[in-house]
């Protein structure tokens, strides 16, 4: 949009800037939360539990792979008593040297053993496969499959690996030549890779994996020993409890370490030996004790013994015996701690109940105050309503009524204020509230007096209001008077012509003194007053009813002009009709019939 704007004054509100800052802060918070979650997860029972499960799974898979390899050796007739152990040792050694997991090495060895039928040849080919894998970047499994097929006569797989052998070499050369060529080509690749940074990382991964497997093996054995029932559900519960206690113990150790730093200060403050430990410190120790209660130090040492010695059946039995011994040893302390825990829980329960009761009381008090507030609210609403009614008044009486209501509301508020003042005990406030109440009462009194006066005025007004003409009595009275007027003749009329209002016997005023009774008799004989003060007979000719010179018997010619409202002369009318016909033709509404001109 083309818009040239010159800002002459501006203010930095920082909203956008702060918004971006907030966004950044939010991101930071999210990151921090994520980090916190990660850390929390790391030290949480769930993480420990997950790690334990993962370890157990890895150990189980490792054991299955070892069993599979041993079975292969046995099937091939290569098992001579310790061949499986020797092969596993070779794989473990190779794993540590190259940084490639035994999860890959063992299947590769298994595959080569099945192809070659020789342990030494398989070991040689596995070493070559590791070199080729390191040199080409191909997967060890893929390389091993190529070598396996080549050993069996199918060299096409090796060609696909891109190992640098021509088709002619692959087609003409035997397997020994090919392996020799490959050995020359890829010699030292695996060692070089193992010495590189990636190899170091892989070695660490191998170590971690092995540790996981070892721990898993130990956990399986140890937890089976800890659980009375060997069912999976119980074992899972034991694992979860174990992980939870480990999590708590980690937190407790952290707290303990933090609090131990304050010990010198506490000693300096107390000036002597520390007789009373801080609450947090005792809590941390208590958590550690709970861990010991659950696992027992012996249990932990038993697990480590298993890890050190290897999880064999004999060790399992000895470990279980040791565990039973240690569990018996700490049974008393466990019971004691349990009782202590129960006491503390009871205390906490009591405290909670007390707090609940206090909360309920506060709630009731709040409701009570709401009730009082409701009274004020209602008063305010009533006032507002009265104020609205003020705008709709149509009479002074309504105004007075609303004013009275408002005064009463004011008095109610004053009473409330006085009650509050009395409750507070403030003398000044009480005096002020009392004065206000008195003033409001006076105002109401004045208003009430006005209402009385208004009522009096209203009754007076009712007295002076004219009577309703449709009143039947009035009508009868009027008819009677008219009858008197109609019946009156000559001089007697004046005595009977009583006015509707006023005294009927009183003489009428404003009528000329000279025979006022003659006026109706003159008109009755067709006379009318003339300019000379006398009376003339009625003459139709004088009023234009007859033409001059005609007698009273002459016929009367009456000319009546009727305005018919002609809208146009004939020519104009013709033009209008023509226009109308043309217009109708234009609209297609023809008046002519078919075939006409």
């Amino acid at each position: 949009m083309a818009n040239i704007v010159i800002d002459i004054l501006a203010e930095f509100t920082g909203k956008n800037a702060f918004k971006s800052a907030e966004t950044s802060t939010d991101k930071l918070n999210k990151s921090a939360k994520s980090l916190g979650k990660t850390l929390g997860l790391t030290f949480s029972g769930a993480a420990v539990l997950a790690y334990a499960k993962k370890s157990i799974k890895a150990a189980a898979e490792d054991q299955a792979a070892q069993a599979s390899l041993a079975q292969t050796l046995k099937n091939l007739g290569l098992e001579t008593g310790n061949t499986a152990e020797a092969v596993n040792a070779f794989i473990n050694n190779l794993e540590r040297q190259t940084g490639i997991l035994d999860d890959e090495l063992r299947p590769a060895m298994d595959r080569l053993l099945r192809a070659t039928g020789s342990v030494s040849e398989s070991q040689k080919l596995l070493g070559l496969a590791l070199d080729i894998s390191a040199g080409t970047g191909k997967d060890l499994t893929q390389v091993t499959q190529g070598l396996q097929k080549a050993f069996l006569g199918n060299v096409q797989g090796l060609g696909r690996l891109g190992v640098g052998l021509t088709k002619a070499e692959l087609k003409t050369g035997n397997f020994a030549d090919i392996t020799q060529k490959l050995t020359d080509l890829f010699a030292g690749q695996a060692e070089r890779q193992a010495d590189s940074f990636k190899g170091s990382i892989d070695k660490l991964a191998v170590a971690a994996n092995n540790a996981s497997e070892i721990i898993g093996t130990g956990l399986i054995t140890a937890l089976q020993g800890l659980g009375e029932d060997e069912s999976i559900n119980d074992l899972t519960t034991d694992i979860e409890d174990f992980a939870t206690e480990i999590s708590k113990s980690i937190q407790a150790v952290g707290l303990l370490l933090g609090l131990l730093k304050t010990v010198p200060d506490l000693l300096a403050k107390t000036g002597g030996p520390l007789f009373k430990l801080p609450k947090e410190l005792t809590g941390a120790i208590f958590d550690l004790e709970k861990l010991f209660k659950f696992t027992g130090v012996g249990a932990l040492s038993g697990i480590f013994d298993f890890l050190n010695k290897g999880a064999t059946g004999d060790n399992t039995a000895s470990g279980l015996a040791h565990l039973a011994e240690l569990q018996a040893k700490y049974a008393a302390s466990t019971l004691k701690n349990g009782k202590k825990l129960t006491t503390e829980e009871l205390n906490q329960l009591k405290a909670k109940q007390l707090k609940l009761a206090i909360d309920k009381a506060n709630l009731a008090l709040g409701k009570g105050s709401n009730v009082f507030d409701m009274e004020k609210i209602q008063l305010a609403a009533a006032e507002k309503n009265q104020a609205e009614q003020l705008g709709k008044i149509t009479s002074q009486a309504q105004l007075l009524q609303i004013t009275n209501d408002l005064a009463r509301l004011e008095i109610k508020q004053s009473i409330l204020a006085l009650e509050e003042a009395i409750a507070t005990g403030d003398v000044k406030a009480i005096t002020a509230a009392t004065n206000k109440l008195n003033a409001d009462l006076n105002i109401l009194g004045v208003l009430t007096g006005q209402k009385i006066k208004l009522t009096e005025i209203e009754s007076i007004l009712k007295g002076i209001l004219p009577k309703d003409l449709i009143n039947l009595a009035n009508l009868n009275e009027a008819i009677r008077l008219l009858g008197l007027i109609g019946a009156g003749t000559g001089n007697t009329m004046a005595t009977h012509a009583a006015p509707i209002l006023g005294d009927p016997n009183k003489s009428p005023v404003g009528i000329p003194a000279t025979s006022p009774v003659m006026v109706p008799s003159i008109y009755s004989f067709g006379q009318r007053p003339n300019q000379g003060g006398g009376f003339d007979f009625f003459d139709p000719e004088k009023v234009g009813m007859f033409s001059a010179g005609s007698s009273g018997t002459k016929s009367v010619t009456v000319v009546v002009n009727v305005n018919a409202g002609t809208i146009a002369n004939p020519e104009q009318l013709t033009t209008m009709v023509q226009d109308a016909v043309i217009s109708l033709n234009k609209r297609g509404d023809l008046l002519t019939y078919a075939g006409s001109l």
Binding site: I4, L9, E11, N16
Partner: protein, 176 residues
């Protein structure tokens, strides 16, 4: 570069709430400070007869280039004393003058980057070249007026705001 004030928006709100008359008076003062700029800027826009004939509106023209109409262009010049929305850097404009039509903006700024273009040269030959200002504040009408104003409007605005703030504070103190 606009002068930056602090609390201008709050002052405006407070004035409208507590002293509407003073708010109105302040607005009038601000308008009085800005009106000369817009009035003078409108005078710098050429009439229809003084621009290139091809720039004027033509019947049945399909071109999208904004045509020049002196009446519309001059009507598009004005001022504003209500706070704007905050820009990307968080600044809100309290007082501004604007030239909002496309043709007005073209006349205002044409030739800044291409002074030797045929259109610019022809227009300059017809009406004269009189750009003032520097950089992005260089122009023929509004920028020119603002340059010629030499900050008087800004000073007047600041003075109006300061007076309003002082009065409002004095009132607030008097009320306790």
């Amino acid at each position: 570069m606009p002068a930056s004030v602090k609390g201008g928006i709050e002052l405006r709100k407070a004035l409208r709430k507590f002293s509407p008359d003073l708010a109105k008076e302040t607005q009038q003062k601000m308008s009085g400070a800005l009106k000369p700029i817009t009035k003078s800027a409108k005078g710098y826009f050429p009439d229809d007869s003084s621009v290139l004939s091809g720039w004027l509106p033509r019947e049945n023209s399909q071109s999208r280039f904004p045509t020049y109409s002196a009446r519309q262009v001059k009507a598009g010049v004005g001022f504003k004393t209500s706070p704007s929305k905050p820009n990307r850097r968080g600044f809100r404009s309290l007082a501004s003058v604007f030239n909002k039509t496309a043709a007005g903006a073209i006349y205002e700024t044409m030739g800044r980057k291409t002074p030797s273009s045929v259109f610019v040269q022809n227009q300059n030959n017809k009406y004269g070249q009189s750009m003032k200002g520097n950089g992005k504040m260089e122009g023929r009408a509004l920028y020119r007026t603002y340059e010629e104003n030499q900050g008087k409007a800004r000073e007047a605005l600041l003075e109006a705001i300061k007076i309003a703030a002082d009065k409002l504070n004095a009132t607030a103190k008097a009320r306790g």
